[in-house]
């Protein structure tokens, strides 16, 4: 156990360092932070002085070493744009993104898994074909178009749901949550759905494919031959066995959720990390971008670890052998 976790942690550090390095090498190209930090009338000398103060004139590797060194000491630096501590800015935004991502993921699982099971068990039915086609069309429309369409339909035309923001939030410790108010939930529906559509389709198709595969396996055939009731056969036997690959892919798709949450957050003005990141790009806010990426890599590593632990929970073959 210890060996396993240590090994994973070691690999995680590698992943995070690599992400930090890559992202850091990227910043030089995003634009000129100083132009974004100063006004029209700032003189050339003042700009140059600022550049020097921020260490932007230092060699790249030197800047990177300073960045990682500070990170390791727990110093996340200050935003160029707002001058706030980056750690605080990101920490403020994490709840919004996590809630959005989680709800989107849950929607995609709650809808995707039953739909996948249904379409696997009735592969030729009309309903199946319609579900498959609808979801396919759903993922073929770019996320931002879906988002805006939903906003105009439910926010403007019908007036049922808010068009932007998080609605009512509640502060619990350091965590701002929109899950405890009706307003919060109303604000969450559209972005979560927009973000979830892609995941939903993916989950559904994956569950469907795996389920069809599992339904042909010997143990399902044998269970059928024993007259195990259908419901139990489908859900206890077949579905459980599809979960291992499904979990892997869903874990891997975490990156996708993050990537698309940038788009979704920007469309819905959802005050999460993605929005912060986009603003930071606009203002070439290097410290925020850097920490954001490292945090994302960290989440990614965490999710990967969680997936592995989930495997063990699901699949007894991976558990410690009790008896020979």
């Amino acid at each position: 156990m210890v060996y396993f976790i240590l090994k994973r942690l070691f690999q995680s550090i590698f992943v995070m360092l690599a992400v930090a390095f890559l992202s850091f090498s990227l910043f030089r190209f995003v634009g000129d932070p100083v132009s974004q930090m100063t006004g029209v009338e700032t003189t050339v000398e003042d700009r140059e002085r600022l550049r020097e103060e921020l260490g932007l004139n230092d060699p790249f590797l030197f800047q990177f070493a300073r960045f990682t060194g500070d990170l390791l000491q727990g110093d996340f630096g200050y935003s160029y744009r707002t001058r706030q501590p980056v750690a605080e800015m990101i920490a403020d935004r994490i709840p919004a993104t996590l809630e959005l991502g989680t709800v989107a993921l849950i929607i995609s699982l709650l809808v995707g898994i039953p739909a996948g099971v249904y379409t696997a068990l009735n592969p030729r039915g009309f309903v199946t074909q319609s579900i498959l086609l609808t979801t396919l069309v759903g993922v073929s429309i770019p996320t931002f178009v879906i988002g805006i369409m939903l906003i105009f339909l439910f926010g403007v035309q019908l007036g049922w749901l808010p068009t932007f923001g998080r609605g009512g939030t509640v502060q619990i410790g350091g965590w701002t949550s929109s899950l405890f108010t009706v307003e919060g939930w109303r604000a969450l529906i559209l972005p979560a759905f927009t973000l979830g559509v892609y995941q939903l389709t993916l989950t559904m198709r994956l569950v469907r494919a795996e389920m069809m595969e599992v339904m042909r396996s010997d143990y399902i055939l044998f269970a059928t031959a024993r007259g195990i009731p259908w419901r139990r056969l489908h859900f206890r036997h077949a579905l459980a066995n599809t979960m291992v690959p499904v979990i892997t892919i869903i874990g891997l798709q975490f990156g996708g959720v993050i990537a698309f949450s940038i788009v979704t957050e920007s469309v819905f003005q959802w005050p999460g990390m993605g929005l912060l990141f986009l603003e930071s790009i606009r203002f070439v806010d290097i410290p925020v971008m850097g920490v954001y990426l490292v945090v994302i890599a960290f989440f990614f590593v965490l999710v990967n670890l969680a997936v592995d632990l989930l495997y063990i929970a699901i699949d007894p073959r991976l558990r410690v052998k009790e008896a020979a």
Partner: protein, 561 residues
């Protein structure tokens, strides 16, 4: 009890309906073990599936009646049929590894099966399950029942499968090749169990197999199938001892006998239409080509104290596994121009031996020599080492040993090209075609793909590929265990002929003692990676020295009449 009359099953396909079985009739009485034999694709499994109502779509029953007691099996609704399964008819599948749900404990699977058909409390169901496990010979059933399938050995798993089929007290159990995946020792235990259950509980069994030995050992009646039709049926002893139908006769002749060695098997006449090779080269030319390349001097192989360790199977995700000793200081000497038989139960290290010799696996210790020269181990053996050509191998599974995406011509000419035996592409093609002729295939096969051939034909192609390297030492790793008897007989004949003609040295690996008896001059018996006996073949079969060897001989199902 079970009565099937005139059953016809069809599979519609794009080329019209395919009739898998046609007008099959059979009946099974309580306590009877009814054998179904026949070559692969004869329709054995299809009968079983039709009876239990699990024909794979698009297959359907075209004609015939099936009754179980007073129930007409063809006239059931889907729900009734499902209720029937398990309660009155059960089934056992070939592979115990894959028949159990890996995510559920044995207990859960047993209890749910019992509760599916009976309104019974969980604790009562558990008691029943434990009793049943005890009855079929699992010790400490009360604790072992909590285990997951992967925590059982293959034989125990097959017992669990049987327990699952039994736990609802069905009248009829269809056992589809229940022992094919098991080795002889376990096989004989399972067969004993089936026999006992038939006798004590009066359960009717349909036992599907292609192993005549198994049929001979436990069935009461037997039905011989070929091409979906019944060739012959009747009491087992009568059918096997005095077959009436010519096919049955041919089948019996093709069965390798444990008690005597035959020079050649009689095989049912093959229906391959020979087409002349495009360049007019024939098997004789191929033979000449081969002889042309025969180097003088023997290809004797010697292995000394070879030890192989593998990173052991992971027992837990957290700790590093113990190394697993697959071969433990094994020595073996193969005389030039003879056939060495290598036998042993599954997992004893036979294939590992072959891999060490071919350089796929590097031994931790030990030396090898080929024709007196040292034979470097895997990593040290250069890619162009002469032994790469001299040692060739024929694999067990003819379905996966040929690259499905390459044409036969490409597969065959590859060694010619690789070893630089023939620089000219057209000539390579001619020789390949001639070699096909030599192994008894039509020369126009050269432009086809492997999937267009039957298992036996593919195995011939594999042999041809091996020969095209002009080898001196041929390793055959269970070359026929995936084939049914008649085809096995053809392949064995071919190997015998080639060995005789070209003086090849062969290492013949098998777990089937009867087959080995027909082929080998010497015998090495492996167990758990150790050599337990090494002998001249005849001496071994008449008077084995080691206890383990004696036991093996005894357990091998044989036709004893």
């Amino acid at each position: 009890m079970l009565d099937v009359q005139g059953l016809t099953v069809r599979f519609p396909s794009r080329h019209g309906d395919f009739t898998a079985i046609e007008g099959v009739s059979l009946s099974v009485n309580p306590g009877e073990i009814h054998g179904l034999v026949g070559e692969s694709g004869a329709g054995k499994s299809t009968i079983g599936a039709a009876v239990i109502g699990l024909l794979q779509p698009p297959g359907y029953i075209a004609e015939g009646t099936m009754t179980l007691g007073d129930v007409d099996l063809r006239n059931l609704t889907a729900a009734q049929a499902h209720q029937m399964r398990g309660a009155r008819i059960s089934m056992i599948f070939q592979d115990p590894q894959t028949s159990l749900n890996p995510l559920m404990t044995v207990e859960d699977q047993l209890i749910e099966t019992i509760q599916a058909h009976e309104d019974i409390s969980t604790s009562d169901a558990r008691t029943r399950a434990i009793e049943l496990l005890e009855e079929i010979g699992i010790k400490q059933a009360a604790t072992r029942i909590k285990a997951y399938p992967h925590q059982f050995s293959g034989g125990m798993r097959q017992r669990v499968v049987i327990a699952l089929a039994l736990c609802t007290n069905p009248e009829l159990i269809i056992a589809d090749e229940p022992t094919t995946a098991l080795d002889v020792a376990v096989q004989s235990q399972v067969l004993d169990l089936i026999k006992r259950l038939a006798q004590t509980r009066g359960i009717g069994f349909i036992l599907i197999t292609h192993d005549i030995g198994v049929i001979a050992q436990i069935t009461d009646n037997v039905t011989v199938l070929r091409g979906g039709k019944v060739m012959e049926h009747g009491p087992t002893e009568r059918v096997l001892r005095a077959p009436e139908h010519p096919y049955t006769k041919a089948l019996m002749d093709a069965v390798p006998r444990l008690d005597k060695r035959v020079e050649r098997f009689l095989v049912p006449e093959s229906d391959v239409v020979k087409v002349a090779s495009p360049a007019g080269l024939t098997g004789a030319d191929a033979e000449a080509w081969l002889l042309d390349g025969v180097q003088q001097g023997g290809a004797d192989l010697e292995m000394k104290d070879v030890t192989v360790r593998f990173a052991g199977t992971r027992t837990s995700l957290w700790t590093k596994p113990e190394p697993f000793v697959a071969l433990d200081s094994v020595s073996m000497q193969v005389r030039p121009g003879t056939v060495m038989g290598l036998v042993g139960e599954s997992g004893s290290g036979k294939s590992t031996m072959a891999k060490v010799i071919t350089g796929l696996v590097s031994p931790a210790e030990g030396q090898m020599t080929l024709a007196g020269d040292p034979l470097p181990a895997a990593k040290q053996r250069p890619r162009d080492h002469v032994s790469r050509r001299l040692i060739q191998m024929v694999f067990q599974d003819p379905y996966s040993s040929l690259n499905a995406r390459h044409r036969i011509g490409e597969i065959l000419s590859e060694p010619l090209w690789l070893y630089g035996l023939e620089p000219d592409a057209a000539r390579r093609r001619q020789i390949s075609a001639a070699m096909l002729d030599l192994v008894g295939l039509s020369a126009d096969s050269i432009d086809r793909y492997p999937h267009q051939f039957s298992g036996g034909q593919r195995q011939r192609i594999a042999v041809a590929r091996a020969l095209l390297a002009r080898p001196r030492f041929l390793i055959c790793d269970e070359p026929t265990s995936a084939l049914d008897v008649s085809i096995q007989a053809q392949v064995l004949n071919l190997l015998k002929d080639l060995q005789a003609r070209f003086g090849l040295t062969i290492l013949f690996i098998s777990h089937n003692l009867a087959v080995v008896r027909q082929m080998s001059d010497d015998i090495t018996v492996l167990r758990n990676g150790k050599v337990v006996e090494a002998q001249r073949s005849e001496a071994f079969f008449t008077a084995p020295k080691a206890d383990y060897a004696r036991e093996l001989l005894q357990l091998t199902p044989a036709i004893t009449f």
